[in-house]
Symmetry: C2
């Protein structure tokens, strides 16, 4: 341990939300010899010094997101927080002066402000058009204030607290209960902002309000926010930060809205929790609910493809990843306050920056000590619902020579206002690229030209709809008739999940609520067999009803079709596939009116080949489509799809997807351009079991699935083609 | 210089096509200490040893490309050549034995063969469906034979030469004059194969035939090959390798068919020339026509984007690059026999392998000696036509902080059977990615599912057509009425080219032959101005006729439209834009019936923004389209486009394309998402001059173009908006 005499050290004189007295002095003394920390400091110094040179601007609020006043106040809180930390670590006066000057300007302006002139939000803010951004401001400003707190005299503190912080905290809570008291990420930010400024000011009333919510909120369970999300769920009895921790995450750390919003929401959870752990270690916040915050971070880190990008379920913009600043915070905080898992360090190395506080220092120091181990994402099931009883999400991952495949199978609850009607849908990823996509959100975040960066109309009319997903659509309608209130009350159910074997990983789920009177079971498996260079994806979708329905199974691939083995007719002119539930956005490019009993489609993307082989009936139909109809503002991506259609009461859609071969545009050589699967057959059906065989040039693979009993210890025996098959558990897989 | 006693050395006892006696002994002694050469040896050893282990297979010819016998004979010649070289360099007997055994099998089979059973080709081969592949076989087998020649006794040589090599050479020449005596890349292969085996056997008759062609060929100038290319041009008086060198390249080394075919054709040029230089240095082949072969290689290396990928003009599959094996040969040979340009070494380093002969050794040795310098592609004009009088191609390149832009402007002759009807078209590349694309070929080379890897019908009906390119289409017809015979007789004309200035690079060309009665001049400029982070692309397309015509200017962009400033109507159902000349393949997605006087479109691709701003008339129309109509086999890529349409006799399409800003899906921040160009105006028009001004927030840029006189020393003066403008040369550019 070196002790450089040049370091200016300051002593901690209050309960800080960022350091303890001991950790502050360690960081002050050692930071410059810890490379990643010093790098992060250098980056912050560069950016903050540029802002200091630019001078302080605190404009009267006026604009929406993207506009000058909005972006300026956002830049201010980001800069203030970093300037504060630079002061705390280096002792450089200029950073403290900058923070103090800026806070004084805010304290002078704040008492003069009414709510923001824009009336777009269900909870209008003061500096911003919505309280959400104001809460962001307070979360960051609290940290800035914490850093300079010890340096201010009583009058200076009183000026800021009386004119700015206390009224701001009250504004975001008492004066805006519909914002503060929800079980929702908006309120997590509100709770964190109010709680963190409370901790800095040692205001126990504010801290209690942050942890437990407003006792009286007078909220109506019929009220909605501007995205159509409900303000207060029926039966909601609690609010505040602890309630968010208890209710927004499943016991596995899955966040109801999905990873994109979990990434957004995780920041206030982590930073408020870290603040509590520093200032109120007696609360043992990281132990709350069996370490739920740590579970939430690990869930997020596992909800990524092999580039670290989040699976884009629900309203998610593609490309968001664990490189985001929220995940930098999460990784640093959970490393420091959690179990110091050395695998987290490899993610921090990729992120290339750390927080400028004790948590970031811990991470950077451990990296400099060579403790890093590779993070290995795992196959896992994440159960949904506050008590884990509302379905879940299965992640199946298999590595092979030179790559990986991962299937993400979704049988969650709706996920509130940002949820998609995508029950039993799945997507497939290879080497960090999408093979079968979930469309994601129809939104271009912070792209002004696209509705100011806000949600687009087509998000509701297409992206959320069932037909926009790789799952069955019944009678060309959306799950729950696209009624969010019904959706919020229902969920799919897990049936079984097994990722314990080397040659098969499998998940099965059911849904009886998405379509009234329709019972669905889908089973998704990754199978590794020595006849194939890469794992196969096997999909057995069992749909049962007492009535004859039309079942559509869309498949959103990417790239160029090479082969389709049925007789189809391409359309001379294109019309939409329907007029509602998302079909109005799909051009019908071609159609087959009957199918062979094995339908095969081969396409090429990213210099690889993909083949989809399905067991089909002569009377089935097949459609080739492309997104983009009824899209007057070119908001949609013109991605391709195909769709299998069957009219039946009971149908089993059994298919297998192979990723195979490769092509080089330089050598112009193609390898294994053809599918090796010769067929997939449903060879057994009863109320209790469904069995499929996958035939290929080198043999046959057989998968028997239970339909009613998934108990792991239950033994079963049936006779298939006069051969006895017996097994224990929910399924049987055999290489024939 | 180390001299390892373990090296087996063999002495050269004949005039080899691969080494001289001195160079062979140098390579044998030193190769193992030269890293890149040893690596290339290791790779060859691995692959050849695997083939030796597999055993020799010489099947009776039967299949087309992609089929077993075709691929096997191809693998055989590739393996034989490498085995031969391994023997020559290492002295390992097993490689010589393998080559000899294989050649003996061919010599036994060859006399029994008729022409290949497939009747698809205008010149059916013996081992393959077309002589072209047979010529490939002979080019490679000659090298293999050369390597083991010294080891065989007179009887062994006589057996191979009498039964295989001499009859094969006669078959490819005397017996198939329509293949041997063309001015065409097919014949280059034929000349090389016949010449190389002639050199190895020291057969001066064959070598002379290869160099000068057949004296009597009895060919008909009306005959066509199976791609519609002519066999013998009217007035063609010469044939053979020297004629190919004189007639297929322009004086600047541009090859009539474009870089994709130039890459394919360069191999026989280079390998036969290297063979001649080794065995017949008296011919000084690399000095022929002022070093045309070296010019051809440099032309190719400059016809690449910043990833080394060839600009996909004419029938070109995208992704082909200087990483191909043909360019490995070209770089090594031109380095060794040319001027030892150290910039070539940086390309060889990227290629990561060298030829296993004296040329590859020279390159690898120079790299190991640290001689490498970076290859810097240049802005240049490549004139077309054997005498350089048939138009040309301009490459404009500008670097900026963090990237590059390159515009490729095509005003060449047709380029024979693989040429596209794309007169005065251009494409734009940024950082090795296409911004405005040329569609390239409609073909999936060696992808069996797509017409066996051959040309697709849509290549003719779409990809070759004028409307598939970023250039003006007159009256919705293709250049020359898509008549190849007319096209072959005409060409565009260069007008001026200047890449000498820092702030502007500019090329201007004219065409009066593409549409009878229509006089066109297009000027493309890259302009660097301090108000813009990246260069602007300015396009002034002047079209003049005595009649009123419809002028369409298509623009093939990639990505997502963000903004279009005109009132347009999106189609509820889609119909093709027309029924011929490629329009039948374009879906009309939306249309504007009138335009503002500045039309602007902004789109987003690759996390960047692009804006196109054009000077338009109220009566102009604007179409948004997508490729893919009338495409029953899904052969076309569904790429987007837009198109400006004007009815006029004289029209000036003046537009400016900005690449601007950036977006991050991780930070969700967009920078400079909006165009800074406020307008572009045609401010002066006369028979002699056209002037445009580009207005932007920070000022005005003015470009005055001559229409009739491009002499560099001519002075001009005009009055624009009562200001005198005077300049010398073909254009004047000023920042106002
Ligand atoms: Ca990815
Ligand atoms: Ca490229
Ligand atoms: Ca006129
Ligand atoms: Mg979705
Ligand atoms: Mg529910
Ligand atoms: Mg083209
Ligand atoms: Mg011509």
């Amino acid at each position: 341990v070196s002790c450089d005499s040049e370091h200016k050290t300051t002593t901690l004189k209050h309960k800080s939300i960022l350091f303890t007295a001991a950790s502050l002095s360690t960081v002050q003394e050692q930071y410059s010899s810890v490379q990643l920390f010093q790098q992060s400091m250098d980056q912050a110094i560069k950016e903050v010094d540029a802002q200091i040179a630019n001078g302080i601007e605190v404009p009267i609020p006026k604009d929406l997101a993207g506009g000058y006043t909005h972006e300026r106040h956002k830049l201010n809180y980001l800069t203030m927080q970093r300037a504060g930390k630079l002061y705390r670590v280096t002792g450089e006066e200029k950073y403290a002066v900058y923070v103090h000057d800026m806070l004084r300007e805010y304290a002078e302006m704040f008492p003069t402000l009414d709510r923001h002139p824009s009336e777009k939000s269900y909870s209008r803010g003061k500096l911003f058009w919505q309280c959400l951004n104001d809460a962001n401001w307070l979360v960051y400003a609290s940290q800035a204030y914490d850093c300079i707190y010890d340096r201010l005299n009583a009058d200076e503190k009183a000026f800021l607290e009386t004119n700015l912080f206390r009224p701001y905290a009250n504004f975001l809570s008492i004066e805006t209960p519909q914002f503060f008291n929800r079980i929702h990420n908006h309120s997590t930010w509100a709770n964190a902002g109010v709680g963190m400024i409370g901790l800095v000011m040692n205001d126990t009333v504010l801290v209690k309000r942050a942890l437990y919510g407003l006792e009286e909120d007078g909220l109506d369970t019929a009220a909605k926010d501007n995205d159509g999300g409900s303000i207060k769920e029926e039966g909601q009895e609690r609010a505040g930060f602890l309630a968010q921790m208890d209710l927004l995450f499943s016991p596995d750390g899955f966040y109801a809205e999905g990873p994109y919003y979990q990434r957004y929401a995780i920041y206030p959870f982590m930073v408020f929790a870290a603040s509590l752990q520093n200032a109120r270690p007696d609360l043992k916040i990281f132990e709350h609910r069996d370490g739920i915050l740590s579970k939430a971070v690990y869930a997020l880190l596992n909800l990524t493809d092999s580039n670290g990008e989040f699976y884009p379920i629900n309203d998610a913009q593609k490309g968001m990843s664990y490189y985001s600043r929220e995940l930098v915070s999460a990784v640093d905080i959970i490393y420091h306050f959690g179990d110091q898992n050395p695998e987290l360090l490899s993610i921090a190395e990729k992120q290339g920056r750390v927080l400028l506080d004790v948590t970031g220092f811990s991470v950077a120091e451990a990296i400099s000590q060579g403790k890093t181990q590779a993070f290995v994402p795992k196959s896992m099931e994440l159960k949904d619902g506050a008590d884990g009883s509302e379905g879940g999400l299965a992640i199946l991952r298999m590595n092979h020579t030179g790559g990986d495949l991962n299937a993400v199978f979704k049988y969650t609850a709706q996920g509130m206002g940002h949820g998609h009607y995508d029950k039993l849908s799945y997507s497939l990823f290879e080497n960090g690229e999408e093979v079968l996509q979930d469309y994601g959100v129809s939104r271009f975040v912070n792209i002004e030209q696209k509705n100011g960066g806000g949600y687009l109309k087509e998000n509701k009319t297409f992206a959320k709809q069932t037909v926009a997903h790789n799952t069955v659509v019944v009678n060309q309608t959306t799950n729950y008739g696209a009624d969010i209130d019904v959706a919020n009350k229902r969920h799919s159910d897990r049936f079984f999940f097994d990722a314990s074997k080397k040659n098969i990983q499998i998940a099965s789920a059911k849904d009886t609520g998405a379509y009234d009177g329709v019972r669905m079971q889908r089973t998704i498996a990754l199978i590794a067999d020595s006849s194939f260079a890469k794992p196969l994806l096997v999909d057995v979708f069992d749909i049962d009803s007492d009535e004859i329905n039309t079942y559509d199974l869309p498949c959103y691939y990417f790239g160029q079709l090479l082969l389709a083995n049925m007789v189809y007719e391409t359309r001379a002119t294109l019309a939409p596939m329907g007029d509602q539930f998302g079909y109005q956005h799909l051009w019908e490019v071609a159609k087959a009116d009957k199918l062979p009993n094995q339908t095969k489609v081969t396409w090429m993307n990213n210099q690889q080949f993909y083949s989809w082989t399905a067991s089909t009936d002569t009377s089935d139909e097949f459609l080739f489509g492309r997104i983009g109809a009824n899209d007057p503002k070119f908001n949609l991506r013109a991605d391709p799809m195909f769709m299998l259609r069957r009219k039946a009461d009971h149908a089993v859609f059994a298919s297998v997807l192979e990723s195979h071969g490769s092509y080089s545009a330089v050598s112009e050589l193609s390898e294994d351009a053809f599918s090796k699967v010769t067929g997939i057959d449903v060879i057994y059906q009863s109320d209790d079991y469904t069995a499929v065989q996958i035939r290929h040039e080198g043999g046959t693979l057989q998968l028997v699935l239970c339909r009613n009993d998934s108990a792991a210890d239950q033994s079963h025996e049936i006779t298939i083609e006069s051969k006895k098959v017996s097994w224990t558990g929910a399924y049987d897989y055999q290489v024939m």
